[in-house]
């Protein structure tokens, strides 16, 4: 039935504007995520004084309500993210809106340290990821957009600031000693990467969005259609 089709070509997981961009962005992504998981301090070489990073939480993004807990152990505890979240639909104070963008290496590293440690299974499970990469002509740079998921493996190295530092706290409300539960999460991340000196790359802008863990049917359409139908007679 035509009226029940999304009238664009079937969803594909990867888009690269040309070969040069394919090479640059696949290198960038695999190295970046490896270091993000291993040692975020090593990523600082990619950031400069004017580089910007911020993170937002979309806790109401749709996801599959756990039907198979052993396989899709998703969690919806965003306690490690909320106090730094720059979801601008929810952050209204001017101070917080401006203060939650990290600018320059020092602030960016601090923000990175306040996020849980992670594992991205890019090499073993590339189907968990989707990428669009295209030129950003205003800066002679490229835009690299990654969608995917990761496993939280440990609590953040540094503690995030409390969102209401001086506010009243009820006796059941004191979250100071309560650690957020670690789980799988999904994310969307947008990098604007520009050429630096001696063939290096610089991240001008880095926007990370974190949401509940979702399976990858949204971009593995062909893969899914090709799989055999489950046997009913089991």
């Amino acid at each position: 039935n035509n009226t029940l089709s999304f009238p664009f070509p079937a969803s594909v997981s990867m888009f690269f504007q040309d070969e040069e961009i394919r090479n640059m962005s696949t290198n960038f992504i695999s190295n970046y995520l490896k270091l993000w998981d291993a040692n975020r301090a090593d990523l600082m070489i990619l950031y400069q004084n004017e580089s910007q990073f911020s993170m937002q939480v979309d806790s109401s993004h749709p996801y599959l309500i756990d039907s198979n807990p052993s396989h899709y152990s998703s969690g919806t505890d965003f306690g490690n993210y909320l106090s730094n979240s720059r979801n601008l639909t929810r952050v209204s104070s001017v101070k917080a809106r401006l203060g939650r963008v990290a600018i320059g290496q020092e602030q960016i590293f601090k923000s990175f340290s306040q996020l849980p440690k992670t594992r991205h299974d890019l090499m073993t499970h590339p189907e968990l990821f989707s990428v669009e990469s295209y030129r950003f002509p205003q800066l002679n740079g490229i835009m690299i957009v990654i969608h995917g998921s990761f496993e939280e493996t440990a609590q953040p190295e540094a503690e995030a600031p409390q969102s209401v530092p001086n506010g009243p706290r009820g006796r059941f409300n004191n979250s100071k000693n309560k650690k957020a539960a670690l789980s799988k999460k999904s994310f969307d991340r947008t990098f604007v990467v520009i050429p630096g000196p001696n063939g290096s790359m610089i991240v001008a802008s880095d926007l990370l969005s974190v949401r509940p863990f979702a399976v990858t049917d949204a971009w593995n359409v062909a893969h899914k259609d090709a799989s055999p139908a489950p046997a009913n007679a089991a």
């Binding site: 039935n1 035509n2 009226t3 029940l4 089709s5 999304f6 009238p7 664009f8 070509p9 079937a10 969803s11 594909v12 997981s13 990867m14 888009f15 504007q17 004017e50 910007q52 911020s54 993170m55 937002q56 979309d58 109401s60 993004h61 749709p62 996801y63 599959l64 720059r86 979801n87 601008l88 639909t89 929810r90 001017v94 101070k95 809106r97 401006l98 963008v101 989707s130 669009e132 295209y134 950003f136 205003q138 800066l139 835009m143 957009v145 969608h147 999904s186 969307d188 947008t190 604007v192 001008a204 802008s205 926007l207 969005s209 949401r211 979702a214 049917d217 949204a218 971009w219 359409v221």
Partner: protein, 182 residues
């Protein structure tokens, strides 16, 4: 500091909401009337520039000799079932020296699963035109969407203009019970 500190990104939220709701305009609605299909379809994503780069679910839209990418997008969107987008979250950076904002927005969208097109046509053999006009959409489950926009800085003063340089629209979640094929 002599004047109040202002957040320049404040007007971006109404702009984004207007952009999303432009995708959801219905042809047959009690509140809006369009003289013809063209005047209806050209309302979709009106803030795209004619030359915008548009990528939908990993495939770029290729402009044709007759249609620029904006028109091409609008023609395609006209064929989509009626939709309803909701903005969940967004964040943005003004990129120094470029006069542009990068916006990363997270949304959800549901589609009309009644089998009727935006213009009220169905694939049924017997068409009941009155019913088509009056039928309300049968909304399906929510899809998740991530949208990346590169928008001219002037959006903070002129949210009505053609300010979008690129649109990257990606489904991030597909509900298991949806009958809409992506």
């Amino acid at each position: 500091m002599s004047h109040l500190q202002q957040d320049p990104t404040q007007p971006i939220e109404p702009f984004l909401k207007k952009f999303l709701s432009s995708l959801d305009i219905q042809y047959n609605s009690p509140t809006t009337q369009f003289p013809n299909v063209e005047s209806y379809a050209t309302q979709f994503a009106k803030s795209l520039k004619p030359s915008s780069a548009v990528i939908v679910n990993g495939t770029p839209l290729i402009p044709t000799t007759n249609n620029d990418s904006k028109l091409e997008f609008q023609k395609k969107w006209l064929q989509a079932p009626n939709s309803f987008h909701q903005l969940n979250s967004y964040d943005c950076h003004l990129i120094p020296g470029t006069g542009t904002f990068i916006i990363n927005l997270s949304a959800k969208v549901k589609f009309d699963e009644s089998g009727k097109s935006k213009l009220g046509e169905s694939a049924d053999l017997i068409q009941d035109n009155n019913a088509a006009r009056n039928n309300r959409p049968l909304w399906g489950s929510w899809f998740g969407v991530n949208i990346i926009l590169v928008v001219d800085e002037v959006v903070i003063n002129h949210s009505e203009g053609e300010v979008i340089n690129s649109l990257d629209y990606r489904f991030t979640f597909k509900p298991e019970d949806s009958v809409v094929k992506i």
